[in-house]
Structure formats: structure tokens, C-alpha cells
């Protein structure tokens, strides 16, 4: 009996250990929620020049990305991640021949369609105080809340902002509030090119060989 009991105990332990390993493997197989896939489509909501700058960020990070200032639904085809760069420009909206209401309607359809298609959405605000104000804030609050990740050039909670005051897009903590309320992960950057490192991490870019 003692030998049987010992075998039974060892067997049970093996089952438990193997079970735990299986659970561990199953957990490891789940996609990291902070990993985003390529290819990427970068577009502007608010028609500021920030989206063109994010294109530069993507190039420098080695992310496979296309940039369209005002993307169409058709351009979502084959896209894994949509990067929306938020900030209203009266010049840009004028150039696109739309007002803020028109921009909101187009962008809502774009982002909702992307989400319906399983495309992940990263919202970015990189133009500081120049892109804060009634129109920009309407865009920011609406579309930040519809995103999977936030990147903002601005002060992080409890950390003093040392760059140009006008470059702080989060001086009033708006993005922090949106991220907290919506449980959306957020990265704070001090310069726009600071987003290069965030992209490298989010898109799991391997360093170039050689």
C-alpha cells in the first residue's frame, strides 16, 4: 500500500506540474496586449501636419507604414494597425474642404470601421498646446477613448515638464484622465522623436543586424 500510495502521490504531483505547465504555455501563447502588428496606416484627424511627422517617426523606427493625410475606408484593406494623429488645424481642414463636424463624421466612420475589422488603433497627440482648444479637444476626447493605446507629447503625472512649455500637450492632464477612465495604456514623450522608441517597443521591432 505504501508503494502504491507513493506512486499515486508522484503521479498526482506530475499531473499538477504538467497541468501548471500547460496553463503557463497557454498563457504564453496569448498575444501580448501591448504588441501591435504591421503594416500600419498613419492618418490625421483634424488635418494638422502632425501625421506627416509621425510618418518620419515610423521610418526611423523601422515600422512598415503608409501615410495618408485623410485616409479612406478602402485604405484600411490589409492594415493591421491604424495610427490616428489628433489635432485640429483650420488651415488643414480648409485644405481638405471640411469643417470640424465633417471631420468628426469621417473620422468616426474610419475608426469604427477599423475596429470592426479587428484593426488596432493607436492615438497620438504630438503638437503640444498648439493643438489644444475647443476643436482639437473634441477630436482628442472622442478618438482617444476609441483607441487601444495613447501616445502624448506632454507631461506625465508627477514629472516636471522640462521642454518648451508650449510643447506640453498634457499640461491639464486631459490625456491622463482619458487613459485612466478608459483603462487605456499611455506613453508620455518629451519630443516627437521620443515616439520612435515607443514604436520600436509596441511593434517589437528587432534591431538591424550587422
Amino acid at each position: 500500500m505504501k508503494r502504491f500510495e507513493a506512486k499515486w502521490a508522484v503521479s498526482m504531483m506530475l499531473i499538477v506540474v504538467l497541468g501548471l505547465m500547460a496553463v503557463g504555455q497557454e498563457e504564453a501563447a496569448q498575444p501580448d496586449p501591448l504588441t501591435f502588428e504591421q503594416p500600419v496606416l498613419i492618418t490625421s484627424i483634424g488635418q494638422s501636419a502632425g501625421a506627416a511627422q509621425v510618418r518620419v517617426v515610423a521610418i526611423r523606427a523601422g515600422v512598415e507604414a503608409t501615410y495618408t493625410q485623410r485616409a479612406t475606408l478602402e485604405e484600411l484593406e490589409g492594415v493591421a494597425t491604424l495610427v490616428i494623429v489628433l489635432g485640429a488645424s483650420s488651415k488643414g481642414l480648409g485644405a481638405a474642404g471640411v469643417d470640424v463636424d465633417g471631420e468628426m463624421a469621417w473620422a468616426t466612420e474610419l475608426v469604427e470601421t477599423a475596429r470592426d475589422q479587428g484593426i488596432q488603433v493607436i492615438a497620438m497627440h504630438i503638437e503640444g498646446g498648439a493643438r489644444r482648444g475647443p476643436s482639437s479637444d473634441l477630436i482628442v476626447t472622442t478618438f482617444s477613448a476609441m483607441s487601444d493605446y495613447l501616445i502624448v507629447k506632454g507631461s506625465a503625472p508627477g514629472i516636471a515638464w522640462t521642454a518648451d512649455e508650449a510643447a506640453d500637450g498634457n499640461a491639464d492632464g486631459l490625456f491622463t484622465t482619458i487613459a485612466t477612465d478608459g483603462e487605456i495604456p499611455i506613453s508620455y514623450i518629451e519630443t516627437t522623436l521620443g515616439a520612435v522608441d515607443v514604436f520600436i517597443e509596441l511593434f517589437a521591432i528587432e534591431p538591424a543586424e550587422g
Binding site: A49, A52, R55, S89, A95, A130, A167, T191, L193
Partner: protein, 354 residues
Amino acid sequence: MKPHAGMRLAQMGIVLLLLLAAWTIGYADGPLSHDVRPGYGVSDIQWLSDYLPALRGTPGDTPIYVMQGQEPGGVALILGGTHANEIAGIMAAVLLVERGSVQRGTVFVIPHANNSASRINSGVYNATSPQSFELTNALGEVRWFHYGDRRTQPEDQEPDPDVFVHEPSGLELPGDEARNLNRNHPGKADGTLTQQISFALFALVNNENVDVLVDMHEASLYSRLSNMLVSHPRAVDIAAFTVLDLETEGLALKQEVSSEEYFGLSHREFGDRTNAFAFLIESSNPGQEASIENPDVVNDPRSPLSDRVYLQLRTIETILANHALLEGSARAIAFAFPFAVGDLLGADLGLFLR
């Protein structure tokens, strides 16, 4: 004796009147001269009227400093003084002419693009802004510079219309904008003086195959426009690279793209109508801020002239570097100074002049 004395007085009066008339005609008709001392980097001096002979002898004519590089490359046109009260652009151009040298390509520099506007400051934004300013060079010599106006002098062209209609777009603007060079592009060969200046600039850009055009401006100290780089949509990538590069150096510029609805501006019209990549830079000038009485346009610590000249020149350097990066080295353009442009920050601008 009395008749003789009366005759002499009358003769003197006539002479004085003739002198006054000659002075007035000369003052109104000829191009204004400025204290610009070209350095070794200048290979030729042309006139804007070389590109439109109708401008010769008018207050709209202005010198063009040609700086030929040691190596072949592209062509840049650097404009200061489109608005003659926006002096950082003028002084950046003057510094380039006096101390700069071109390594690659050719750079055309026009420090006073609207020379008529240079003559008198009407105080369009600030009635207490100056008529001139002084800088002292390294030899202790005081140099005197005009602080001009936003627009062509009223007496230099026909009276303003009630409504200025931009050609060819038909865009309607206030009447005095008929004298604003940066609302008159692409100009007109037989138009007003302002339109002729613009037309000649377009002729230069087309004839010389200009690749990069930079129009240097200033805005009020607290204006949304200050510290901004505007580009034509074709040049948005070069602008984006430039803004991001400058940000890493601690120079924060906002980026805008030309509006498609607002015509007559340099970045819009040169970008639309020529092969040039067109840019407009705005630094911040205390002299354009209405709330500052007797503004110090040189030494105001909030935005000293040397810092503004640094902003203009460093931005142009970075635009040219990124133009070469994105468009290829065959049309690259590069200039340099015998000092780092960053040395201008917080320094006395006069010490860098000849």
C-alpha cells in the same frame, strides 16, 4: 539793393524748390540702399530688375546676392524683407551675405525682397515700433539698419482699391493688401509695383531652376504663427524631418501646410507654380506686439534678435540638409559660416557682422 536782395531770395527759393523736387523724385523713384557688406562668399551681385527690366530705377528694385558653391548642386532662393518690419529674416540674409559661404549648389539671397516697404515704418502693428535699429560690430563700428513696413509704400503705387482682388484666384482681401507682397504672388509683369516685384521673383525661380525657396517672416511675440515652419504640401516631408530634427536640438517649431483656399502667399504660389519646394519661416518679433510700448526689437530678452536670426538660419540649414536627404545629393545645397550658427544664441548679433 532791395530788388537785388529780393531777386537773390527768389533765386534761392527756386534752387531750394528744385533740390526738394529732385530729392523727392529720387526718394520716391530709386531703390533704397542698405548697409550690406558682401563677404568672400558672394560671387556676383544682380538686381531683381535683371528678371523684369520694368523694375529698374523703381523703389521695387533690390540687389540679389549670388553665392556660388565650390561643388555643383541645386539652387536655393532665400528671401528676407518680404515684410520689411520682420527684421530677423532681413538680418539672417545679411549675415549669410556677409559671412556665409556655399559649399554645394548656388544660393541666391535677397535681404530686402520688398525694398519699397523698407523705407518707412507706418507702425502697422505697433505705432511705437522704431524706424531703425543699430548694431555694433566687432570693431566697435555702429551699423544702422532700416526697420521698415509690412507693405509697399503707398506713394510707390496706385491708390489702394476698396477691395483687393488677388489675381488669378479672384480671392477678395482688404484694399491695402494690394501692397502686401505676400498676398500678390504670382504677380504680374505689367501690374502694380508689388505685383511686378512678385513677377520678377517668379522669373528668377523659373530661370535659375530654384529647388528650394525659403521666405523668412516674423509674427508677434504671442502670435499663434510665431516659431512656425509652413510648407507647400509637396514639401511636407522635408518640413516634417526638419521640425523633428530641430526639436531634438531644443528648437521647437510648429508645422503647418499651405492652405488650398488662401492664395497669394509665397509657399502656396511658388509651390503650385514652380518646381521649387517652398517654405516660410516665422520667428517672433516683439516689435509686432501691440501691447509693448517702444519695443526693443534687438535686445528684448523674450526674443532677442540674435536668437531669431539663429532660428531662421538653423531652420534653413536643416531644410537644406533634409532636402538633400530626401531628394538626392545631385541637387544638394549647403552653406556654412566660420562659426557655428548656434553661437548666435544669446549673443550680440553685431559681433558676427562685418
